[in-house]
Amino acid sequence: MFRLKGVKAKGILSITDLTIPAKRITCIVGESGSGKTTLLRLLNQLDSPDEGEIWLNQRLSSELDPIPWRREAVMVPQATITFKGTIRDNLQIGLSFAGKPEASDERLKEALHLACLEKDLEQNAEELSGGEKQRLALARAIVMNPMVLLLDEPTSALDEDTADTVMQRLTAFMRENGKTLVMITHSRHIADTYADFVIEMKDGTGRRGRTGGVYSEWNH
């Protein structure tokens, strides 16, 4: 799904060669400040690399219009954002940004269920707790039904049990529908349990390996 070659960005990221496979679940781990968010933003085309090339679904990123791409590779940022209005408004806004027709209430409730947020659609989103807002942001991306989800620490504000349930439902949904999930996490447990592949970021370089603590050299 993604291939990065000789990519340098923001004076921190430096990736020789990295492939992120389609229809798989890939976790990005690594210590704070190692460039995880920087990498994810490149995949969403929210930033462009200073050097090197990125292929997004076999197409060179520089030849791709970023806006339609972002609608197919939706990113949820590390700092949760809620928009004005009700939970329903917050769930529909991604579709309206993308110029797509509104989703039925049924679909909205499905997305809320996947994100473990059983709330009334009419409730004001500002009234939600921090962790609830984080799940709302996740559900908003799910409603858009994109080919790829790029999640920046989607469960950082959740207790372990809720985080586990969210991950279970989300990964099952992504696998059933043949979608690609790339997510950053600080939780070793989540990476070990749910990821097909793990990218470990270290000083701006990424090494990819299978789960289970065995990392194969991918670049250098």
């Binding site: 972002r70 940022p77 954002i81 858009m144």
Partner: protein, 259 residues
């Protein structure tokens, strides 16, 4: 004749008491602003005296070139004031948007006002054009300056929200829509407020000046209504052009936010 000038001089001198009062207050409060206040008062005095003599000359020797030149100077000065009056460093593109929006907003309104509303003959009659241009330029300058600040602060303060919208596939236009609307609002608010308060809360400067110099209040009011509408037109035109051009300068060709 000498007596009137003397009286005027003494009245003016008395008015400077306010400046001295202000300086005393700042002193006591320990705010280090005496120099600025003093410089401001001196500059204001010298500039106005200079303008007074300049206008006497231009009014006495009406010529389209003089009128156009004065309007151009006012416009250039107001653009400079807006550009230099912001706390943050402006990008070149944003400066261009400011210049372009103010020039077109102000000129379109001024031309409309002179040719359609007032139907001045000759059209360059400086006695009318200069003060009217002054008011239109001044108010548009205030409006655009507010719009610029609000847009910049909005983009920086709500960076995360704008980017969150982009991440979902929003166009820059959609991602910035809320900020653009807020900027338009805050830029227009003083003008709308002054329309609402007009005549009750305060008498506008032009009307006061006319009444003081002996014009009938009714005539002064007619002019004031016309000029107020002209100001509203020019401010809204300049501001709307500015926010529409301005927000785009925060995004690059790949629809990425660049601050």
């Amino acid at each position: 004749m000498n007596g009137t000038i003397d009286l005027l001089f003494w009245q003016l001198a008395a008015a400077y008491l306010f400046v001295i009062l202000l300086i005393v207050i700042v002193r006591i409060k320990g705010i280090p602003r005496e120099k600025e206040i003093l410089i401001g008062a001196v500059r204001m005095t010298l500039q106005l005296i200079l303008v007074g003599y300049l206008l006497v000359y231009v009014f006495g020797n009406a010529h389209p070139a003089y009128t156009l030149l004065l309007v151009a100077i006012m416009l250039a000065f107001s653009i400079r004031t807006v550009i230099n009056g912001t706390k943050r460093k402006l990008s070149k593109a944003l400066k261009q948007s400011i210049a372009l929006s103010m020039t077109s907003g102000i000129l379109v309104s001024l031309v409309y006002f002179i040719f359609i509303v007032l139907q001045l003959a000759p059209w360059y009659e400086p006695r009318y054009v200069i003060p009217i241009a002054g008011m239109i330029v001044g108010n548009s300058m205030t409006g655009v300056a507010l719009g610029v600040n609000s847009l910049i602060e909005g983009m920086h303060g709500q960076k995360d929200k704008v980017e969150a919208a982009l991440m979902l596939g929003a166009t820059p236009r959609m991602a910035a829509r809320e900020i653009v609307n807020q900027s338009f609002d805050s830029a227009m608010l003083p003008t709308i407020n002054s329309m609402v308060g007009m005549g009750i809360v305060f008498l506008p400067g032009m009307m006061t000046g006319q009444i003081l110099s002996g014009t009938s209040p009714i005539v002064a009011v007619e002019y004031q209504i016309a000029i107020m509408l002209g100001i509203v037109g020019s401010v809204s035109l300049s501001v709307i052009l500015f926010v529409q051009l301005g927000y785009r300068t925060f995004f690059n060709r790949r629809s990425q936010l660049e601050l």
